[in-house]
Symmetry: C2
Subunit: 194 residues, 2 copies
DNA sequence: TAGATTGTTAATCGATTAACAATC
DNA sequence: TAGATTGTTAATCGATTAACAATC
């Protein structure tokens, strides 16, 4: 992941063909052996004396991370954070497309947010089924997130990107990725405390 | 961090006095010895036969994480994401208060966002100096984030909470915490790919 | 060829887990 | 007292680092 970011930054600055493990290790402050091990693990072989082909590495990492496949997602909860995510244009780069946004609030339903017409909650289940949606982004109030999760799971959603500060319980086979702000905050608070 | 969240959830459900390391370990799916080690490391001693005092543990964790101290922060960039963060009411719980919001856009300057009047960028440096701000939250376009960071650092900011998808370079002693969406996204994409 | 960089095996380091006497 | 849970020491495991022959 960090490799991918570093390599895209590298190529965006000036077009380079190859990098050595030492260069990467220096920039990312890790051990060069580590880099070679990691690359080897995903089946990339370097070339003696010149290093690794940047394009080849990038491509392989994208495949491993799953960014080469396109995923359709729905977003639930069009408040501040939901709106910010809908407006974010960087998802396409990683193969993610938000294809619909849902909300419970009558004042929001039917309005347009960042190019999406907000749909009512009752339209959610049929939508998931017909479009075979497997990923849902949760930006709702905490009070409804667990109930909603249960509903999503029963209609076939396989991954939930949880932006609400709740720990969700799901059956095995379903992934919950928590994006909880307080983890980052704790690191900062710790640093500021000296 | 995870401990803290688990314990607050536990007490919010029903008021319990003590927990055993085994209970915590079960819930968080780790080894009970690990729990005792961690607690020991921050100076918390359990009681034989009954376990640990919940309140005492929570308090100690908050101190370690720095949540007991209050920090004033400024936010720069009042777009979608900036607005969402300004509207988020959960920061107070962790001792963080956003005391001012800045933007470059004339249409936004002077407008009110979630109770804050957006200030122009030229007011930023004097504000930081007079209020001795040590933390800045960055929700600007990527094009200006590094330049802005340099300015912030020279006027005394010690920590930057970076929500822009750029790797920032800072002098030693300054912390950058990156909140990059693509890390979470890669985990999800990986799972959906099976 | 000479030299730089790789892939891989061996050694080190740290963190996680197991075991158990001490304690309330 | 008896039993459960702790703190801590020892053992295991994995991951990181070092070393070096093979390679372009």
């Amino acid at each position: 992941m960090l490799y991918h970011r570093f390599l895209s930054e590298l190529t965006s600055r000036k077009p380079v063909r190859t990098v050595t493990s030492a260069q990467i290790a220096d920039a990312l402050d890790i051990d060069p052996t580590q880099v070679r091990k990691d690359f080897g693990a995903i089946g990339i072989l370097g070339m003696g004396r010149v290093g690794f082909d940047v394009c080849e590495v990038c491509r392989a990492i994208r495949v491993v991370l799953g960014f080469d496949q396109n995923h359709n997602a729905i977003l639930i909860g069009t408040g501040h954070l939901g709106g910010a995510l809908l407006a974010y244009s960087g998802f396409a780069r990683y193969g993610l497309e938000i294809v619909a946004a849902f909300d419970n609030d009558d004042r929001r339903i039917g309005s347009r947010v960042a190019g999406h017409t907000v749909k009512p909650m009752r339209a959610m289940t049929p939508f998931i089924k017909s479009r075979k949606i497997r990923l849902a982004i949760l930006t709702t109030p905490v009070t409804v997130s667990q109930k909603l999760t249960d509903r999503l799971v029963t209609v076939g959603v396989k991954a939930i990107w949880n932006f609400t500060p709740t720990r969700l319980t799901v059956p095995p086979g379903v992934l919950v990725r928590n994006e909880h702000i307080s983890i980052g905050l704790s690191e900062i608070a710790y640093h500021l405390r000296h």
